[in-house]
Amino acid sequence: MWSFILRRILLMVPTLLVVSVISFAIIEAPPGDYMDSYVNALLQQQEAVDPAEIESLRKRYGLDAPTYVRYFRWLGNIMQGNLGRSLEWNQPVTKLIADRLPWSLAISVASFFLAYALAIPIGFYSATRQYSIGDYVFTLIGFIGLATPNFLLALLILWYYFVATGNVAVGLFSNEYLVAPWSFAKFIDLLKHLWLPALVVGTAGTAGLIRVMRANLLDELERPYVMVARSKGLSETKLLFKYPFRIAMNPVASTIGWTLPTLVNGELLASLVLGLPTIAPLFVGALLSQDMFLAGSVVMVLSTLTLVGTLLSDIVLAWLDPRIRGAI
């Protein structure tokens, strides 16, 4: 088991390097560099620009060095937790991201659990009562859920919310808790607000998971070992949970790998529409204003977190399924 974990972690290193190269490429992608944007910003504010000063700044930040040098310098900084500075906000990127990341994570994690909490029992129901009315209803809802873009669902919900309350954004806290220090009541208030974005983000994932769960369980129900278990005199419920359900859970657990990226995608869109103070509006703002240090860092952080999540899910999977543990 431990060697499996170690191997998995080692495999992640090159992947992370690729992520960093891509993020750096994003930072470097727009024509001109950091200083050009800076100059533009100054010009827009009608301030005087001294070319000599700009040149010296360029030297100071090492912008005149070749690309690969700048990449390694940047990578070195990242290792020390320094992601650079946002021009737009005039703040360290690290701080900007750290301020908002928890909310993104909260929504993603909540929608993750919501998706599995809904999909597993529904998939179980659908499979054990195949072709029942309930099965058809869930299958239909699942298909529609899969076909509905997150942001559209968010828009519909927001519309309903607006008509019902007159608020233009859903928010994460009620007004009275907005600035209040943390307390249990504030936490409860957060949960009360969190389920809505979590649901929006989770639908596509839930729909996909229901299909996976249902298909796997149906597959497993046909297997000889189910009939064998029945021939032993086990009761139907006990048998379902001990045998096919347990095995059908493995592919479901292995879907975590592809669920996480969709959750991140969904969270971005849903937060934008619902007006939540997560990393999403920060990211879009950065992209629109070409604040590439911030944008590239966000890509880097999101990708890294997803990869870590996948790593965790792999470990859980190996722990669940003795075959995987044995094989590696």
């Binding site: 994003i26 529609i144 559209l152 796997n216 969709t262 934008l272 999101l302």
Partner: protein, 379 residues
């Protein structure tokens, strides 16, 4: 030991090589027959065909020029096609006109049905001039009204006909799907083929790339890449840029299918035989191996269209993909983003309905194809 089965083999077995063409044909027939039994998939296929027809002949099939604006008709709600006038049935369908009133205090415009204005909906009416595919000039539209207005899905903030815009939007959104899978197809087949055919280190590297692309969130990447498209590009260039960006990630699914098939086919005799004969390797791949799993590829391609359409829609919706004056479903939905506007004019969301229907149809067709191509595959 004596086993019944051995003695009971029936004498009619074995297809000889001369009948190969026949068996290929029947295999396709079998697939078609199986697919046709999948009713939902067949209906979806018909719907998709209709969608694409509308996209192709958008100029002729849309009642108006999608860019034609008129400030007199801003945010006008949808007009319904009717057959009953004051309870009396009439064969020729018609629409009632609408009149607007502005509230003096709030400056909000409200629209009211005006049953005194009645406009007959006719086929082949003269309307906004257009050039079909830049070739044929005409003013004839399939349906419309000769006088008054017919905004079946309402109008937008500039008084443009939503239905016409949706039809034209479909041209972009739906073609993104096709063009996207065309590119994914090329990349996917090459990467999957190379990976499966050569195996070894090549395979390992390509597998790692696929795994990587599948395990990172795509949307932030797409967003960042689309910002990197030069601002000086024309709408058409941006369009192709976006398609390429979407396909950069979309090929992985197909590559997996192709690789799996290659892996299992690699050992098969005719490939070996061709190799022994000294045939060129790429010829082996394309001549002998590809046809044998075309059906799987088609199914896999169909199933990857939705993510392309969703990708374009999401990007344009955020404002990072296509932008006005380009018209796509995502661009149209971008107009629906302001909730206060949306609350008054909910029909602005209607492009979303088309997105959902298109994706549903592609999913159903893809599922149907996959089941027909291989009844035993699970995922």
């Amino acid at each position: 030991m004596a086993v019944i089965e051995e003695g009971m083999q029936s004498s009619s077995s074995g297809v000889n090589a001369g009948e190969e063409d026949l068996s290929v044909a029947t295999q396709w027939q079998l697939i078609r027959w199986k697919f046709m039994r999948h009713k939902v998939a067949v209906i979806s296929l018909v719907l998709i065909a209709i969608f694409y027809l509308f996209a192709i002949f958008a100029e002729f099939l849309s009642p108006y020029d999608p860019t034609n604006h008129d400030t007199d008709y801003m945010f006008m709600p949808p007009q319904r096609v009717r057959f009953f006038d004051e309870g009396k049935f009439q064969l020729r369908p018609f629409v009632y006109g609408m009149t607007s009133k502005m509230d003096e205090n709030t400056f909000r415009t409200t629209w009211e049905l005006d049953k005194t204005q009645k406009y007959a909906v006719k086929l082949f009416v003269r309307g906004d001039p257009y050039e079909l595919w830049g070739l044929f000039e005409s003013t004839i539209h399939l349906f419309g009204v000769e006088e008054g207005t017919m905004f079946l899905v309402g109008t937008d903030k500039m008084g443009r006909d939503m239905l016409s815009r949706i039809i034209f939007g479909g041209r972009i959104s739906l073609s993104v799907g096709l063009l996207g899978i065309a590119i994914s197809f090329v990349i996917g087949v090459i990467m999957g083929g190379v990976s499966g055919y050569f195996g070894g280190v090549t395979d390992l590297i390509i597998q790692r790339i696929i795994e990587f692309l599948r395990s990172i969130p795509t949307l932030p990447l797409w967003m960042a890449l689309s910002v990197a498209l030069p601002p000086t590009w024309t709408v058409v260039q941006i369009y192709f840029g976006i398609v390429v960006i979407l396909s950069l990630v979309g090929w992985t699914g197909l590559a997996r299918v192709v690789r799996g098939k290659f892996m299992s086919l690699r050992e098969e005799e005719y490939v070996m035989a061709a190799q022994l004969n000294g045939s060129n390797e790429s010829r082996v791949i394309f001549k002998h191996m590809l046809p044998s799993f075309t059906s799987h590829i088609i199914a896999s391609l169909t199933l990857s269209v939705p993510s392309m359409i969703l990708g374009e829609t999401a990007l344009s919706f955020i404002g990072l993909g296509l932008q006005n004056p380009a018209i796509s479903w995502g661009v149209l939905l971008n107009d629906a983003q302001r909730i206060i506007v949306l609350a008054d004019s909910p029909w602005l969301l209607s492009p979303g309905l088309f997105v959902i229907i298109a994706i549903l149809c592609f999913n159903f067709v893809g599922d149907g194809l996959r089941d027909a191509a291989d009844p035993y595959s699970s995922i």
